[in-house]
Amino acid sequence: MTSQQIINLLPYETPFLFVDTLTKISDKGIEGNYTLKKESGFYKGHFKNNPVTPGVILTEIMAQIGVVCLGILLLKKTTFNKEYPKIALTSSAVDFFLPILPGEKVNVVSEKTFFRFNKLQCKVQLFKETGALACRGTISGMFANGK
């Protein structure tokens, strides 16, 4: 399965698609990146006159690249009966170390802890373009058992 095939199967679209490219894919883990858009609506309110990327958005970027993209690869299905895979975020525990500003490019590195009975748990890190670690955590999701 190619990076583009995985991205095409993602069940998200603008303004809630947070994956630009996948740079490394394997059964053990995945790497990818996303560049934050300066015009994203949440910057208007987070914070007043001081735009900083919300932690929930960083968590979402980590989940979409690190868990959902990897999960699609692990499910090893190129079609989902013309539908998109059904996914639920089931837990996230993330620590935040550095702020991410509008327009920044972030790199996500995810390592599979386990994929059993349709539950995928990963250790996910998010880096600034300088290579500095901005956040890391453990994120899990369940994939619907579509036949």
Partner: protein, 84 residues
């Protein structure tokens, strides 16, 4: 291992994932993981993985599908332990 010891071990395993404290306190073989203890399907996977570690056994999809209440869990564990 007596059946009471087995239930006690299961109690320790499910404790972090339950949402109904009362049903947990009164847990019996008839207690249903999802309907009584209110464990969600994602956490049921965690329970199964913790059972694997605790008893050093491996669960397959078939066992997973049967793991709906304490009694089924006990039966599956007992069978797997016998076959080692």
């Amino acid at each position: 291992m007596t059946q009471q010891e087995l239930i006690n071990k299961l109690k320790t395993i499910v404790k972090p994932y339950i949402q109904n404290e009362m049903a947990f306190q009164n847990m019996t073989p008839e207690t249903d993981f999802i309907n009584d203890l209110k464990i969600n399907s994602a956490n049921l996977v965690d329970v199964v993985l913790d059972i694997e570690d605790e008893f050093d056994i491996e669960m397959d999809t078939q066992s997973m599908e049967k793991m709906l209440d304490v009694k089924s869990a006990m039966d599956i564990i007992n069978t797997k332990l016998k076959n080692i």
